[in-house]
Symmetry: C2
């Protein structure tokens, strides 16, 4: 397994692989890898001859008051996880390698980004789409793997790839959870023990919604009340959003009759966590 | 020479070429080809094993009051020019092949687009960058050829390719002119005989500016006055802009000391024509 910092080197290595007819799977990450990322790398390893993992905390997808500076980083630990999971190459560029001083080109998906995290984090998806386009152009993978935990991100990337004819297949992989249900996230490391216990309220509230849906409840408002009620019972939790949307268009719905995405974002102390599930009738 | 209308077919053909190790040159056009386009195709033919020419009048780069509907089209004539100039494949998609009804992803270059045509045609370069990105993703060429007549377009495309790491080399080719000096343009067909004679005032005004520069004039204002004076002497001409800018940043300059671009846009009757030259000290 190699670690490469600059664009021209990573291109050379991948071009050589492609000349030999080897398929390339790609897992873009912001590092501080957990079992969720490992599952993406393993999936890529199963379906491709070579696997590239990028580790880049992308400054342009963070808002001015967000956690760019304190976002956790640990390349040594990450390298071990990539190697164990079957990765062949880590691309770990510096911000200046990715963004020259006069950088001024951006990629934007105008639909799908109005609600959910898009509404709460203005400019976030423009930053995500721009960096993912750049990474796709550098790595030129056959397939790229994204976690379903960032459900809106996955939908936006799929739309961008379709609209702009980017020659890559996007593959979504299921959320990986701790034993007690908390969705794995690099940001879980911010939680102290009290907050870690409180964070369980996210997955618990979604479990309750799932039960109600299985029992036949079809009113978005009632499902939303169930989730809000559970979240509100936790004093350390502050709700950012609870949304019930069509799983393709990501637009709000009143009555549940198709495939829906229930997505939540909740502050536990100062840490913003997200979770979701898709329910098909 | 083949003509292909849909994206998946053109991809298959080009993929097969690339598997055989053949390099691909690409000339994106809006059709109604003239000797300027032919010179691009010839340049592509010299430097690549295969040459793809796209013919697509891109609706999203036209403003609501512009000439989208009456833009001239003649595929039969174009095919002959492509064949004679050394093209191997014409990609001629329909608007619906390129833009699905829910299309919503865009590429934008925020610098370089404020002045010149960008100021006069809001949204134009967003439309150009988006379609060129799509075409690059469909054709995946090694090199792509653009005319220097659209000097701002060439600068914007180069910037986009650099910023977004698009794996293609952009090659600018010199303006091709009629014997009397008028820059070749698909829009010249709009001109009646009186307007055709009047249109000469564009290249004439630039020639006068060139002479003044060669005689040592370094004041942008004075050079601008020379151009404006010549253009104003033609009753059928209505000036859209006359700009003297740095040839890289496209920002206005007062005193000429580096490489500059002098670009003009002039209505002759209802037809908007552009012309330019680059001057290096």
């Amino acid at each position: 397994m190699q670690i490469v910092n600059n664009i021209s080197d990573v291109r050379k290595i991948i071009k050589q692989w492609q000349r030999e007819g080897l398929s390339v799977g790609f897992v873009p990450t912001m590092g501080y890898l957990h079992e969720g990322h490992a599952s993406l790398i393993e999936a890529a390893n199963k379906e491709n001859a070579k696997v590239v993992v990028s580790i880049f905390v992308n400054p342009i997808q963070f808002g001015p008051k967000e956690d760019l500076d304190k976002y956790p980083r640990d390349l040594e630990r990450d390298s071990k996880i990539v190697e164990t999971s079957g990765g062949d190459l880590i691309f770990n560029p510096s911000p200046s390698e990715m963004y020259t001083e006069d950088f001024s080109s951006f990629v934007e998906v105008n639909s799908l980004t109005d609600g959910l995290c898009g509404a709460k984090r203005p400019g976030h998806f423009k930053g995500v789409c721009t960096v993912v386009t750049k990474l796709f152009n550098i790595v030129t993978p056959d397939k790229a793997y994204f976690g379903e935990k960032d459900a809106q991100q996955l939908a936006v990337i799929k739309k961008m790839v379709r609209d702009l004819n980017i020659p890559v297949e996007i593959i979504g992989c299921p959320i990986i959870r701790e034993n007690d249900g908390l969705a794995k996230s690099s940001r879980n490391v911010y939680l102290n023990s009290e907050e870690r216990a409180a964070a369980l309220v996210l997955s618990k509230s979604l479990e309750k919604a799932k039960e109600a849906l299985k029992s036949g409840e079809r009113s978005s408002e009632k499902i939303r009340d169930i989730i809000m009620g559970t979240l509100s019972s936790e004093p350390l939790a502050q709700i950012d959003y609870v949304e019930i949307v069509d799983s393709i268009s990501l637009t709000s719905i009143d009555y549940i009759e198709n495939s829906i995405l229930i997505a939540i974002a909740v502050f536990i102390g100062k840490t913003r966590l997200i979770d979701n599930f898709t329910f098909k009738l």
